[in-house]
Subunit: 434 residues, 2 copies
């Protein structure tokens, strides 16, 4: 049986998962593929630490460049992550025309343009299924399963750390900091959790999904990002009372704000109705709801991170590369689809949405009336109001759910409201997607 040589660059958590998965399921994979994937080199800065997986120590090297250049390495798996040396190694492999499999969302979100252009120039394959959604074959669904569709929208819960924290905050009425500490203790959050909780990781994934859906490189700078840091359990409780659950959502959608084709790409805590499928996604699980013009709503759910789920998708990409090598058919599915349409990226100020607003008012007669009149003047319709019994002179929370309104108008209205005497502290504002 033909052997396909693999060079693995990066022997961390996912790398160890790939080694373990290959070891366990190699015979099955070989039978399914008609060729035998064989590890030829494993490069990492640390070749001594025990990863708890069976590994031929003679494969280990600290020289990644040499591993990539080995003539018996037919495919390079990059699992270092980040935009530093990983970028160089991926480029080295592509320069040699070798197919690359990577799970590196940061690299593709920040330098996808450069990487994809190099891959095209060298006619080399690049697969990145595990860069979004871990064990969920969402990228494959977009690239192939839904290829006949115009994508209307993608709503994604793409970060398990945030979803775990939000689930715990809601079900246990925990404070954000407590839930974060628990997530860190369980290994679901990093010691420095900024990339996750500030929404950057979700935005990286949103950039990749949006690029796949609309066929052009969506730059990170064009994405509006709000994370979950400091979110209050109070708001999760109010949302629940109103029939919503708060999720950190990547929102990608096609709109025609003024007749032209535009897309929105944004990441923020979002209220979604309890009967929406995404509202059932709890804990570390991820999911993406994709609406296509033909398929309608489809959803993909599973473990968005972790050693084995991510390895599952990395190995599915390796399987694709093996099939390409066996059949001699490179560049079967190009990294991004070639689209005819030119899309414009809508800035966050230009979107329309429904809003959840929570204000803290020092109760005095007429306060609510003043606020609703500001909203009315700014073209913001009110769908519902939640106000507990007030005691004159004490501060009281008021929650307002709006009809669809212009973001710009909401920003203007809140600028005015938050300066009103009797309004204490800035209004909490979250977008709603139905």
């Amino acid at each position: 049986m033909k052997e396909i040589g693999i060079g693995l660059i990066g022997f961390g958590t996912v790398g160890a998962g790939v080694v373990a998965g290959l070891d366990r399921n190699r015979a099955m994979l070989a039978a399914r593929l008609g060729a035998m994937p064989v590890l030829r080199a494993i490069a990492d800065v640390d070749v001594d630490r025990d990863r708890g997986v069976p590994v031929d120590r003679s494969l280990l090297t600290t020289d990644a460049e040499a591993a990539i250049r080995r003539p018996d390495v037919d495919v390079v798996i990059e699992l270092i992550g980040g935009t530093g040396v990983a970028r160089r190694f991926v480029k080295t492999a592509l320069e040699l025309g070798k197919p690359v499999v990577t799970a590196n969302k940061a690299l593709l979100a920040e330098h996808g343009h450069e990487i994809f252009a190099l891959a095209a120039e060298k006619q080399a394959d690049i697969y990145f299924g595990a860069s979004v959604g871990g064990g969920i074959p969402i990228i494959r669904a977009l690239r192939e399963g839904l290829i006949a569709n115009r994508i209307e929208s993608i709503y994604g819960i793409l970060n398990g750390t945030c979803n775990y924290i939000l689930t715990r905050m809601e079900t246990e009425r925990m404070a954000f900091e407590t839930a974060l500490k628990e997530a860190q203790k369980k290994g679901y959050a990093e010691a420095d959790p900024a990339l996750d909780i500030d929404g950057v990781d979700t935005a990286h994934k949103a950039a990749i999904l949006a690029s796949l859906a609309y066929g052009f490189n969506v730059p990170m700078a064009a994405i509006s990002i709000e994370g979950i840091r400091g979110l209050s359990a109070t708001d999760l409780a109010y949302a629940l009372k109103l029939g919503y659950r708060i999720k950190l959502l990547a929102v990608i959608k096609r709109t025609q704000p003024d007749g032209g084709e535009a897309i929105e790409v944004r990441v923020h805590p979002t209220l979604i109705p309890l009967d929406h499928m995404l509202a059932s996604v709890s804990g570390v699980y991820n999911a993406a709801m994709v609406t296509g013009d033909l398929a309608g709503r489809t959803m993909y759910y599973g473990r968005g991170a972790g050693r084995e789920p991510t390895a599952s998708t990395v190995l599915a990409d390796v399987a694709d590369v093996v099939r390409n090598l066996v059949k001699g058919s490179k560049r079967r599915v190009p990294p991004l689809p070639a689209e005819g349409t030119a899309f414009r990226l809508l800035s966050i100020e230009a979107i329309r949405s429904r809003y959840y607003l929570r204000m803290t008012l020092v109760d005095k007669p007429g306060m609510l009336g003043q606020i609703t009149s500001v909203l009315g003047r700014c073209n913001i319709g009110i769908a519902s109001v939640l106000q507990s019994e007030a005691h004159v002179g004490r501060s009281v929370p008021v929650v307002i759910v709006t009809h669809e309104a212009n973001e710009r108008d909401v920003v203007a209205a809140l600028g005015e409201i938050d300066r009103m005497p009797g309004v204490s502290g800035p209004t909490v504002r979250m977008r709603i997607e139905d």
Copy 2:
């Protein structure tokens, strides 16, 4: 741009969806594929009826064989359905070595062995993504996305008609017949609903999924099938009270009943916990939960039937064929994976499960005691009992939820219980999956 000629056999609902989808998204598809899919012939017994889609009437023919044989037809889409002429047409295309795209679950479930063998002999491609799950790319996920996994289990809600009926029965406390009539009125159920409500359609799909998961032809005769005909709203209400929802489920799983490798394939109304993702799948939507040894739990959700969703998946398969033709790489992904393992199919009598039992007892002292002692003697542990206040001499329903037990023991126990004086009518029995 290279043109790829399509012969469409069957111009019914899905056929019209394919014609409309191609018409609408042709330029986009061509840009994505680097080749232009072009309809060259549309065959149907009725070439006069207006399908409400734009169609060049000169393409229409009643001679399917001739359409298939046209030299400018490179790929054949079979959308007639059933195991009659469709079988002949698919075989004609494969005999000519032409790639076939089909949505015909009955054909593949009943004659997959023959069709796949012919395709292998002629080295022709056969794609059947739309045979299960309509617009949900579940077959693609199994064939490619999860290829590195050993599949532990698949739980599927695979029939929209049944799911719609069950949803209406539960939420509106409707009788089965009323919900069925409503489904027929809305076009979700056929005039003769037997294939759907008796579970045969779900079993066809289960056979295909099981074959894909385990790499051998799973015969329909080996599948135990119970439909939803005559299911009582009472049981849906009791289930809800116990924290479960009843769904018609295809259950496919790998077990080691006595150390050897075996698989179970069965279709029956099933109680699933309310917090299980599948419990959130309502109305005509379908979903499949697939557990792999690496990926863990993944779920795929969407519209399981209908003109456009099914066309979406048919066209995704056409896209695969087009890519194969452009790259000259046939048989890239064989219809069934080649596995090393020999699996044995477990008969329904040999399975273990938890059970929901509803008995109607004429209340007299000691009845429940007698019943629990029969269950105990048959090695059936009781997890919970639900009995409303009883009135001596009146009949009273008793609901028992068991621990995991042998199907064989449950059948024996119920045989005994249902003959006891004071037990009126056969016990309602449903399996539980957690």
